[in-house]
Point group: C2
Chain length 344, copies 2
DNA sequence: CTGTTAGCGCATTCAT
DNA sequence: ATGAATGCGCTAACAG
C-alpha cells in the first residue's frame, strides 16, 4: 500500500505494455476504445496517480512557477499572489513563493534556486535596481524561462511586465488635494531608483506644475516605507517655516506615520493638514480617520501577469516579443483628505 | 548555450565517468583530492547546475513542501509562512503555498495536487472540521508524507501539531477585562467546530466563572471573522436590556466591527464599553484607538512547525511518534481596554 | 579510488 | 493499434 503504482504495474496486470498504458492515459495516439477504457478503469482501481517528477524530467516542464516578491506579509503582494494562483492553479501549475526582504543577494539566490527547481517561469517584483543584477536575468533569458515583472519592473529587452500607471495615480491624488484647496503639498517619496516611486514623484510634480502651484523641491523627501520613517520625515515637514498643508505619500505606511506625527503636534486632519497614501492597504479603510489612498487592483495585476506567463510558455515556437500592460489605478477618497465634505 | 550542462558533459570533457563526477560533486564517497578539485573547477567553468528534478526522481524526494492555509492575505498566515520559509530555505527546501478559502473541496484538491507534485511534506492549518476529510489525510499518512498541523488542527493519530494555548490566551484576555472592573463581559465567538475557537470560548467562560461573575450564555454569539459581521453581532449586544460593558472577541476583525458599531451608538471606548480582540493583526496597533489583542507569535509558530517537519522527514527509520507543541500567547494591552490607565 | 550497470517513471520514436 | 527500445539526469550497488 505504501508503494505507488506506476504505469508498469497496470501494464503487467493487463498483459500489455507500459507504452500502451501511457497512451491510454494521455488519450493521445490512436488506441482502441476497448483498451483505453480498460486501462482507465484499472488505473482507477489501482489508485494510479501520475508521477509529475518523472513527467517533468522527461518533458523538461515542472509545472511550477516561481514568484519573487520583496515580502509576503503586505496586503499588496499577498493579493497579487492570490491573483496569480487563481489563474494558474486551474491550469495545473503550482506556485513557489520566495521573498527577498529587499536584499539583493537573496534576489539572486532565489532566482538560482528556482532555476534549480526547474521552474517553468518566474514572475517577480524587483527589490531594488541599484546594483546590476542582470546576470541572473540573463540566465533566465538564455534558458528560455519566461520572466514577467509585475509592479516593480526593470526595463530589459524581451521581458514583459504588468504595472500600474503610477504617474497617473500620483497625478490624480495630487490633483485631488489641489481641488480640495490645498496649496502647499509635500511629497513623502521613496527609493526613486525604482520606477514606481520615480513615477509617483513625477506625477506629483506634474500635477503641481499643471495647476499653477509652485513646485518646491524641498517639499520632497525620500524615505523608507515604514511607519516610523514616515513620522520622522513628517516632523521635518512640520518644523519648516512655511509648513505644508497637505502630504502626498508614496506609501500607506509612511502616510500612517505622517498622521501619527501630525496628531502628536496637535494639528487636525484634514482641516490643518491633509494626507493621502498609496496602495490602499486594508488598514487605510479600517482607521477611524480613514486614509485616502490609491488602489492598485493587486488581484487583477496578479491574474494578468499569470496570463502573460501562460501565453509566453505556450507560444514557444513564435518569435519572442515583449508585452507591457499598464493598469489604471483608482483614487479612493476617504476622511484624511476630504476637507470640503461638510460644505457640500 | 541554451542547453544545460549535465554531469555527462563534464565527464566527457575530463575523460572520466559520470559516476565519478557525481561523487565529486556530492563530496560523498572516497575520491582523490585531485579529481575532485578538477571536477569542481570544470563544473564551475561549464556553469553546471544540478537538475533537481532528476535528483528528485531518483531519490523520491522533491525538496518541496506544501503549505495549506485558509488564505494568504491575512497577516497571521503570511507571517507563519514567513517563519516556515526562514527555517526551510536554508535546508534547500522550497515552499508551495495553497489557499483553501475555507472551502472543503479546495482542501482536498490541494492535498491531491501537492501529493501529485511529490511534496516531501505538508504543513497545514485546516479550514473546517465539519465534513470528514480523513481520506485525504489518510492518503498522506499511507504514503508516509509527514503532515503537520499548525494553529487550526485536527486530532489525528500520528499527526504532530503546533498551536497556541488558545484557552489561556482567552482566559487572560478575559481576566484582564475583569481586573479593569468590567462586570458584564460578552464574547464574540466563531465557528466552534474548530478547536481554536472552542478553546477561546472555554477560556473566556472559565475566567468568568473563576472570578465569581455570572456566566450568561446569551452573551456568547457565534459569527464569522469579518468586520461587517462583528458590527451586526455587536448591535445585538447593544440592544439588550442589560447590555454588556465589555466584549472579548475571538478575532481582531470582529473586534474592529464591534468598535465601529459602539462608536456609531455614541458610546465611548473604553469608558462605556471595552473591546479586546485576538491575533494581534497589525491594524490593531495602527488604529488611533489601538485595540488590545492576543499575540500568537506566528513567525515562531511557522519556524517550529518547519522544525517538526524536518525532524520527521529525517527520522524515517525510527518509530513514528506524534509531537504536540503548544506556544504561550501574549496579551498586548492597548487603549481599547485600558480603563484604569489614567488612575495609575 | 574509479568504472560499469542499472533504475527512478514516463513519453516517444521506430517498428510491427 | 500495440510492442520494443531509448533517454531525460542523476545516484547507488557492485565490481574491480
Amino acid at each position: 500500500m505504501t508503494k505507488k503504482t506506476t504505469i508498469y504495474d497496470i501494464a503487467k496486470r493487463l498483459n500489455i505494455t507500459a507504452a500502451t498504458v501511457s497512451r491510454a492515459l494521455n488519450n493521445n495516439a490512436k488506441i482502441s476504445v476497448a483498451t483505453r477504457k480498460l486501462v482507465l478503469q484499472t488505473a482507477k482501481e489501482m489508485n494510479y496517480e501520475q508521477n509529475k517528477l518523472a513527467l517533468a524530467l522527461k518533458s523538461g516542464k515542472s509545472y511550477n512557477v516561481g514568484v519573487i516578491v520583496p515580502r509576503i506579509d503586505s496586503n499588496f503582494f499577498a493579493s497579487v499572489i492570490r491573483g496569480i494562483e487563481e489563474e494558474l492553479y486551474p491550469k495545473g501549475y503550482h506556485v513557489i513563493i520566495c521573498q527577498t526582504h529587499d536584499q539583493q543577494n537573496l534576489e539572486i539566490e532565489n532566482i538560482n534556486s528556482l532555476l534549480n527547481a526547474q521552474v517553468d517561469g518566474v514572475l517577480m517584483s524587483i527589490s531594488n535596481s541599484e546594483i546590476e543584477n542582470n546576470d541572473s536575468f540573463n540566465k533566465l533569458i538564455k534558458k528560455h524561462v519566461p520572466l514577467i515583472f509585475f509592479d516593480r519592473k526593470k526595463s530589459i529587452s524581451g521581458v514583459s511586465s504588468v504595472t500600474i500607471d503610477d504617474f497617473k495615480g500620483a497625478y490624480e491624488a495630487t490633483k485631488h488635494l489641489i481641488d480640495q484647496g490645498y496649496k502647499r503639498i509635500a511629497h513623502l517619496s521613496n527609493d526613486r531608483s525604482l520606477q514606481i516611486f520615480k513615477n509617483r514623484y513625477l506625477g506629483y510634480k506634474q500635477a503641481i506644475i499643471d495647476n499653477g502651484l509652485e513646485f518646491d523641491e524641498s517639499l520632497v523627501i525620500e524615505t523608507m516605507s515604514k511607519v516610523a520613517e514616515g513620522r520622522k520625515t513628517t516632523k521635518i515637514f512640520l518644523d519648516m517655516d512655511r509648513r505644508p498643508d497637505a502630504i502626498f505619500s508614496s506609501s500607506d505606511f509612511t502616510a500612517l506615520g505622517a498622521i501619527e506625527e501630525i496628531k502628536a503636534h496637535g494639528l487636525k486632519i484634514p482641516e490643518d493638514i491633509s494626507v493621502v497614501g498609496f496602495s490602499n492597504e486594508p488598514f487605510t479603510k479600517f482607521m477611524e480617520l480613514s486614509i485616502t489612498s490609491v488602489d492598485q487592483s493587486p488581484i487583477e495585476m496578479g491574474r494578468i501577469a499569470a496570463q502573460v506567463f501562460l501565453e509566453e510558455v505556450n507560444n514557444s515556437k513564435k518569435v519572442k516579443s515583449e508585452k507591457h500592460i499598464v493598469l489604471t489605478p483608482q483614487l479612493i477618497v476617504r476622511k484624511s483628505s476630504q476637507r470640503l465634505t461638510q460644505l457640500v
